[in-house]
């Protein structure tokens, strides 16, 4: 099995059960994620930006479809390619943009940057720069939910490359043993840096890889936000009701290079061009307008809203103070005991 073609994966849009408010939210989040990153791409090209970034362009339906079924206090762990997950979990664009600029008003006070974005008030426990590292951490958040009896669910997003890290195996076994409420979402964008699926994974049907731990799984069209949403909703509902973990594979495609400026010359241009035609935002737009559920002007209004949000976020970021040389000192240790001073 080589790189999957869109026609092997796509599912038709089925609007049953989606009202227009929800559809607008899904669209809004996808566009936010897209425009946030495209703006960053432009910024990295034109001004001196600190650090690096990995774009999820073309993959937005995965983050948005999954996170949109979660409660505000459900948990998410993310990856080096984490902007879309944050945005889908309603982390503010302002704080994210300011973090990209390494400003004090950034989400992580300028201490983490793109690869460590998080917002604990939104249940976003962190983008992890170590591939796979978030998998056991999300699993632990699910265990915590069980111990505290809160019925919260945890979601771990990770890539097709990350699935070959040992912690995936260890985590799924424990989650299954203890029926933890955790959804493992493997965002299969078909490449791990330069490595196509079939060179990295002996079994490329990634949703079946819970078989070793009795974790059920399912593969969905990751460029169809409704398909992702429905699959995630079922998995989350089951997990919340004590049925244990689930492995959801969302097949998508990494349209850009691995990281800022990286040219993916290890794959055919035609493949890229083909997949671009199955862009998740494009498809959603077409389906929703064709079905007459959302109007061009609905979408346009959202586009404009997002455009303004992004501009505002840049203004917010630029108004922030640069991280100071000594800022970091306050964040190394809390030095505090529970409930107050030591």
């Amino acid at each position: 099995m080589t790189i999957r073609k869109p026609e092997d994966v796509i599912e038709p849009f089925n609007f049953e059960g989606f009202d227009s408010a929800l559809l607008k939210t899904l669209y809004l989040r996808m566009v936010r994620a897209r425009e946030f990153e495209e703006k960053l791409y432009y910024l990295f090209l034109t001004i001196k930006m600190p650090g690096t970034m990995h774009q999820a362009t073309g993959q937005e339906a995965v983050a948005v479809g999954v996170a949109s079924v979660l409660n505000a206090d459900d948990y998410v762990t993310s990856t080096h390619r984490g902007h879309a997950h944050c945005i889908a979990k309603d982390v503010s664009l302002n704080s994210m943009m300011a973090e990209m600029f390494a400003k004090r008003n950034g989400a992580c006070k300028g201490m983490g940057g793109s690869m460590h974005l998080c917002d604990f008030s939104k249940g976003m426990l962190g983008a992890f720069g170590i591939v796979g590292a978030g998998i056991p951490i999300a699993t632990g958040a699910a265990l915590s939910s069980i111990v505290r009896g809160t019925r919260q669910v945890a979601v771990s997003f990770f890539g097709d490359g990350a699935i070959n890290e040992g912690v995936f195996h260890e985590s799924l076994n424990m989650a299954s043993l203890w029926k933890l409420p955790v959804i493992y979402v493997v965002e299969n964008n078909q490449y791990a840096l330069s490595m196509p699926n079939e060179l990295e994974s002996a079994v490329t049907d990634l949703s079946s890889r819970g078989c070793s731990y009795n974790v059920p799984g399912r593969t969905v069209d990751g460029n169809n936000v409704l398909a992702v949403y429905n699959a995630a909703r079922q998995a989350v509902e089951d997990a919340r009701n004590g049925k244990g973990p689930f492995l959801l594979e969302c097949v998508t495609y990494r349209v850009r290079g691995h990281a800022r400026f990286e040219q993916p010359n290890y794959r055919p241009k035609e493949e890229e061009e083909l997949w671009k035609q199955y862009d998740p935002i494009l498809r959603f737009k077409q389906a929703a307008t064709t079905a007459g559920i959302l109007s061009e002007s609905d979408l346009k209004a959202i586009d404009q809203q997002v455009e303004k949000e992004i501009e505002d976020s840049i203004a917010f970021a630029q108004s922030g103070e640069d991280v100071g040389a000594l800022d970091y000192k306050q964040f190394i240790y809390s030095g505090q005991m529970e409930g107050g001073v030591e």
Binding site: C108, H116, C118, F120, A138, V147, E338
Partner: protein, 341 residues
């Protein structure tokens, strides 16, 4: 007061905190139904049940990461590694995640996590004998605690559980003590002196970063950790008869380190021996020597003497292990050397 073994003291600290705070949990291999490989968690599964005491599969990176996830979301996990040597299996989660999350998140992440691990050489060769403190002392974002007595162990453990940062508590297998209900499971070193085994019943904390002067003296300062504290005290007792007065300082926490107590002593005695069980090169003895040599430069009458393990994986043969790991005579000889000029 009651005499408790070090294993008992640690257990009592864990139990008291688990009783008073339902967010404290214990996880690790065989910590539950089996009571722990060294019986440190004896009776805890019975009292707290499987939702508070988690018997894990042999998946160190996995359960360490789960401990972090649990800590980030309101629990206060205690993670036991069966031997400190196995921490390397979870090194990424400890070094890259647990220790760095607070900073990377700009202070959002609270990581109230205790890692407990027995260490020290007891005849079990290279993969069950290591002293790992230097690796973690060199890992900013976590605390490193080394209790040498039951009294210290209980107070430091309670502090560790209550602190909102990752804390590594290293326990020396030979200090667990025979009074533990594990009976024969708990190992004991013959040279262990008796100090500190009186342990108050109520919960108490010992602040991090406060060294303890285990014995006052005026001629030479011996800084020692874990079992070396006991060997140093035994040596000090012997040397007293020869008219040599040793001050024995136990830093108790390596991170944070109580530099002031150490430097004060050095300014008084002007001569220092550092005794630790970890490997010398890049080890704790080097760090202490560096601090003392730089910050008490004008007060040293002789070079600091490092007594530490030789730079080798720990060999199996008893005579070889004994040669690699510092013994009383090594400390004694170092004191003689440091007093020579």
């Amino acid at each position: 007061m009651r005499k408790l073994s070090l294993a008992d003291a640690i257990r009592e600290a864990m139990i008291q905190e688990m009783r008073s705070n339902s967010n404290v949990i214990l996880m690790g291999e065989d910590v539950g139904r089996f009571n722990g490989a060294f019986h440190v968690s004896h009776g805890m599964f019975e009292e707290f049940g499987p939702k508070r005491v988690w018997d894990t599969p042999i998946s160190e990176a996995g359960f360490m990461g789960m401990g972090i996830g649990a800590a980030l979301t309101g629990l206060r996990p205690i993670i036991e590694f069966q031997y400190a040597d196995f921490m390397y299996c979870a090194m990424d989660q400890i070094v890259n995640e647990a220790a760095k999350l607070r900073l990377m998140s700009g202070g959002q992440a609270n990581v109230p996590l205790v890692i407990r691990a027995p260490q020290g050489a007891t005849g079990r060769a290279a993969q069950h004998s290591q002293s790992v403190e230097a690796y973690f002392m060199h890992t900013p974002g976590m605390y490193v605690v080394m209790p040498s007595t039951p009294y210290d162990a209980k107070g430091l453990m309670i502090s560790a559980i209550r602190l909102n940062d990752p804390v590594l508590v290293l326990e020396h297998k030979l200090l667990y003590g025979a009074a533990s209900p594990g009976g024969g499971k708990a190992l004991t070193d013959q040279t262990i002196s008796e100090i500190g085994s009186d342990v108050p019943e109520d919960a108490y904390t010992i602040p991090f970063g406060k060294a303890d002067i285990k014995r006052a003296g005026s001629d030479v300062t011996i800084i020692a950790t874990l079992i070396m504290v006991h060997r140093a005290l035994a040596v000090a007792g012997e040397l007293e008869k020869e008219g040599i007065s040793c001050e024995v300082i136990d830093p108790r926490t390596l991170v944070p380190l109580d530099e002031e107590t150490i430097l004060q002593s050095v300014r008084k005695t002007n001569r220092v021996v550092v005794a630790t069980e970890d490997v010398e090169r890049g080890g704790v003895s080097a760090e202490l020597t560096s601090i003392i040599s730089r910050k008490a430069f004008d007060f040293l009458d002789a070079p600091v003497e490092c007594v530490a393990a030789d730079n080798t994986p720990i060999p199996f043969g008893p005579a070889a292990e004994k040669h690699v790991i510092p013994q009383m005579e090594d400390i004694r000889d170092a004191v003689y050397r440091v007093l020579k000029d």
